[in-house]
Symmetry: C2
Subunit: 124 residues, 2 copies
Amino acid sequence: MADITAIAKQFVEFYYKTFSGDRSSLLALYRDHSMLTWEGTPIQGAKSILEKLVNLPFGKVQHRITSLDAQPSSPSVASLLVSVNGNLVVDDSENAIPFSQVFQLIPDGGSYYVFNDIFRLNYG
Amino acid sequence: MADITAIAKQFVEFYYKTFSGDRSSLLALYRDHSMLTWEGTPIQGAKSILEKLVNLPFGKVQHRITSLDAQPSSPSVASLLVSVNGNLVVDDSENAIPFSQVFQLIPDGGSYYVFNDIFRLNYG
């Protein structure tokens, strides 16, 4: 599963870099049937998801990844399930908050889009 | 997504109850093409997965769930993506260890089996 992990790592690094640098560009990674569950709140569709992400109450964000695991999510399609754990550093706070995030990525014209996205902060 | 969350909750509660009570009975929940990534180690197939789970170096285990999120994982099949966060209490230790686990559940004759399973302990 070396290739799958490499693809997942590349995607996640790009996703978090975009999240930190220009959150509105994440729109291109979602589709109308994409789903985000953010801290328990379900949101559907690229535009609604972007509205949620862009309006989050923090400016500068850094995701420090501690683990990344990937598996094929279908026996027939080259889709990927990706599980990420790490620490979120918000607005240069000294307190990193553990997070976990799950993506299902669907192949689309040489690239991937996000069909499933589940995000949780772990307050412990 | 109320129904999906209810199904996911029911499955996860059954899974962790079986994990605590009779780990070998988890065999029925996996298939030959099922995948487990346990702390970064990839394992494929129901028998290999069970061998891993049964031989884990702890006796008594309790999963205390802090969050459970579920989404449909396919536009066509009634499969489910389930993300669980919580604390693992091993052998009555006073130290609960945060964990995150992701399942993809595939419908199969009125029930579900586990196609994807990714487990991580977060040492923080």
